[in-house]
Symmetry: C2
Subunit: 359 residues, 2 copies
């Protein structure tokens, strides 16, 4: 490489020629990568036309920890909002081993067979790549994962339920904008995650197993009361008889509860997800529920209340975390808890003391 002789009066020594680039394709690669980073408008347009790649990209932005990504995610969601909310959101819970994945595989396949578009999400705050989230092992949903009218997304990672719930709520909006009319949200039968899922779905389905009395252990207290339907799974072969008995018992128990604000009387059915039996019955019950609650306006009222709940909950979570993460509060809280434990102060006096601490 030779330079053109300088026409300037300033003399410049001839330099060393730069090395040949080690990767001759680098520039075109960088250009291609830049091109792949679509604009907000491009992503929104693609989502609204049902493009799955754009949907996945937007969800990745929602799940990112990069503030710039979150800013773009918020802009995308804002533009998707007018196209969202046209769906039924179904929460599914049950203890490990009850057959949630198999059930979703069977139910989701049934739904796509009747022209529904199904998005399957998960809320599992304990999940991480190494621990393996409940939807992480997509091989348990072999058919659904290949189905072009289904979209499966594992739980976003994160240790805080609040964070996971937020990401899932926003992912619901993106999926709805992409044309999914049935959103299934799976959660594990432990901890507070059911309550969070219950606060983001229209219909709450509890999966159970047949068996004697103690089959109910391991289900968190209060879950039965949340359920709009209990489906007793694995009702096949030798289990059939006990499943039918369990159905009678649960029906009796559910009638002991007060009538729900939805005016819906929770239903109990038996099914066998592995044999794909009972899926139509599940769908019929959900349709009945939708008809009732759309007619009596509870459907819309509940969604409004859920929105209000998440607004207030987000604020409360933040106020708490800001307070309890203050270094001086962390130090003093432990001391005050000890004083309370030893009956040297009351919880209220201790609280006043902590609230009075200035940093």
């Amino acid at each position: 490489m030779t330079r053109k002789a300088s026409t300037s009066a300033l003399k410049e020594n001839e330099g060393i020629s730069p090395r040949e680039m080690t990767n001759v394709n680098a520039i075109s690669k960088i250009r291609a990568r830049r091109k792949k980073q679509k604009s907000t408008q491009e992503i929104v347009t693609a989502i609204l036309s049902g493009n799955m790649t754009a949907l996945s990209q937007a969800i990745t932005l929602v799940e990112s920890k990069n503030p710039k990504h979150l800013e773009q995610a918020n802009a995308i969601i804002k533009q998707c909002l007018p196209h969202a909310n046209q769906s039924v959101r179904i929460g599914i819970t049950g203890v490990p081993g009850v057959g949630k994945s198999t059930f979703i595989e069977a139910f989701g396949t049934y739904l796509t067979g009747i022209e529904k578009k199904v998005a399957v999400l998960a809320v599992d705050p304990s999940s991480s790549i190494t621990k393996g989230s409940i939807l992480g092992d997509k091989t348990r949903m072999e058919d659904l994962v290949k189905n072009e009218n289904a979209f499966i997304r594992p739980s976003p990672s994160g240790t805080s339920l609040g964070g996971v719930a937020r990401k899932t709520r926003e992912t619901i909006i993106l999926c709805e904008a992409a044309g999914f009319d049935t959103i299934i949200i799976e959660t594990v039968g432990v901890g507070q995650s059911e309550t969070a899922v219950h606060s983001m779905v229209d219909f709450f389905l509890l999966l159970k197993l047949a068996g004697a009395g103690d089959e109910l252990q391991g289900i968190k207290r209060g879950i039965i009361e949340m359920a709009d339907m209990i489906a007793i799974n694995k009702a096949d072969g030798e289990n059939l008889k006990s499943a039918k008995l369990a159905k009678v018992e649960f029906n009796r128990a559910l009638h002991l509860y007060p009538i729900k604000a939805s005016e819906w009387q929770p239903k109990v059915i038996t099914c066998s997800a592995i044999k794909k039996e009972g899926m139509e019955a599940v769908y019929t019950i959900i349709s009945d529920y939708l008809k009732l609650t759309v007619d009596n306006s509870y459907f819309y009222k509940k969604r409004n209340e859920q929105n209000k709940f998440w607004l207030l909950q987000t604020i409360e979570d933040r106020l708490k975390s800001e307070f309890f993460n203050r270094i001086n509060i962390k130090k003093e809280l432990e001391k005050q808890l000890n004083l309370v434990e030893n009956n040297e102060t009351t919880p209220f006096v201790a609280a006043e003391y902590l609230l009075g601490i200035k940093d």
Copy 2:
């Protein structure tokens, strides 16, 4: 009245004599009143010796809105704390008409008959003098009110459950320091008050009526799960048969729930408070519960957790009320809720906006 001639160089005109006092007894009256305002130490000593007047005075200080009174109340409670906690705290709930007052009259009388000292308190945030609190009408507890081993105090007034709960928690301590070994806390079967009471008692008793299916309406969801015992009241005369049936049904329903952390299997009994039948059975069950939970340490663990709960709850309540009472937040919250309702923003974006408002 004549003045002594001034010895000062400054001349002072002779003033007008003050009027004779219109009430010649005022000074002695004020002195008497001051004398009645006992010192903290006097009140504590009197409480510890079981003086009911001092106990009532201290509770009045706890319930006062005067900051000086509250300061004195805190000082009294602090000195009472080492003498408190020697009791069993029993929560009682049930819908209006189930016979709570009659039950407490019968059960309290039974307890004093076996040498117990019984304090009856109430948590009813809706109560006020005009509305009439659940324990306001003491005539429904004719015997107990005259019983020298019983102490009855209606719900403190106040519209906030948090405030009422706090006052009741502190009153429990005062009653225990005064030697009451059985604290009964009554609450109405509506709203959040059961949850508050559940968080301050060792044992939770749900009163119910016999009858077909719908007798359970009107009981808040989740209450059955909280109960350590369900007593089906008015099990007499024509009701006896249906009460026994209800007992079978509830027993079945309770067995569907997971085992409690206390390892206690909730019991169902029938009783007739008006005929004073079943009171010994109630007492025996509570004694069994105490034996189990003291032996397995759950009793102490639960009290510790309750203390921790109230400490954190008090802080959370205050953080929330301070935030939401800010004038700019009040203004903007309504707007943001409307935007969320019209799908123009998400609950999370709205929350971020509100959290970012500086006054």
